[in-house]
Amino acid sequence: MGTLRIVHYLNQFFAGVGGEKHANVAPERRHGAAGPGVPMQKALGEAAEIVATVYCGDDYFNVNGEAAIARIVELIAAEAPAVVVTGPAFASGRYGMACAAVGQAVEERLGIPAVTAMATDNPAVELYRRSLCIIPTGESVATTGEIVERMARIALKRGRGEPLGRPDDEGYLSRGIRQNVIVPQPAAVRVVDLVLRKVRGEPYTTEIPLPDVDPLVPAPPLRDLKTATIALVTSGGVVPRGNPDRIEARRASRWSKFSIAGLDDLSSRDFECIHGGFDNELVAADPDRVLPVDVMRELEREGSIGRLHEYCYATVGAGGPIERARRFGRDISAELLAAGVQAVIMTAT
């Protein structure tokens, strides 16, 4: 068997181009492995070669959508790989979306298998896990070595067209695919065995995991805008200058509540953006780009809305766990309801 050709997709940061300031670079291709591709090549040994690294800025990808994907797919196709590896993206939401979208496009348009890796609570996992082979990572880049080894092993299998084993055995996330297998015990015996294990408090693995159903009961619409008190909430990290509540720039553990009473807009003198997950210079220059106090005040004065709530709420939505976001939502809602707020405009960067 000859050496398998692999193309690796990275963002501008992991490709070594630069950080957020370079998040606008267009798709490019370079020869050989880069960034996490270097240890991955070691893990692949002689069996495969990372012939090229294709990279793109995270902002560029997000803003250009389909055009960016099409260009990236074109660059990858030119290398005629047997398999494409994207990431690992860890907890980065934008990068995770890019890794997953590129993987899916490569599979659908080129018929080439793809492998990616990211943290299990990366938003892209929810969107793509049913169609893509995603290897779960932790949040920390320090685990790169171990993750690229697993990526290499699974990429080799996929590139050679070998079937993958069960998700738990191979180390990728279940895609919800059921495969028929022959087991010696009939279902009746297996289910009794599972029940006995459960009542004894022993570990057991269900054969049919139930979906995690969590329906949302939507709120009824506002009856009368002209009398309603409306609050502004953001995960975009706009806070009073000096960040008095010490909200973390990533994986925020709390939120900030601050008064906007008497303010006609948010000036960069008094407010700043402490979000660490995107290039926040433009928001820092005019925080109304995230919390639109200026136009809300205008609408309040004209009588289009009853009142703009005198407090804004802000946190940072970068890499934080979902359970934490839920808690923020619950706590903030309780305060808003107690204050007589009737509706919310929420912004996310």
Partner: protein
């Protein structure tokens, strides 16, 4: 956060620069942000024009707050 606020009885409009994420997570009233770096604005415009753009976006949000919205929906902004 939006799910919890809606669930608590507060109609909530969500401006997101990556609407696919709130759609997948079951947020209901979703409007597209302009870009990650300027959700409600456009630094390429002069300030008064930018403010007008922002006002149009906020007006669309207010309108959405007055409409029933039982399912995750990506609403559109006025042209």
């Amino acid at each position: 956060m939006v799910r919890e606020m809606e669930g608590a009885g507060l109609p909530t409009v969500f401006f997101s620069s990556i609407p696919a994420i709130p759609l997948a997570f079951g947020a209901t009233r979703i409007l597209p942000g302009r870009a990650i770096r300027y959700v409600l604005g456009d630094p390429s415009l002069p300030l008064d024009r930018e403010r007008h753009v922002r006002r149009r976006m906020v007006e669309a949000a207010l309108q959405a707050l007055g409409q029933p919205c039982p399912r995750p929906t990506l609403l559109s902004l006025p042209a």
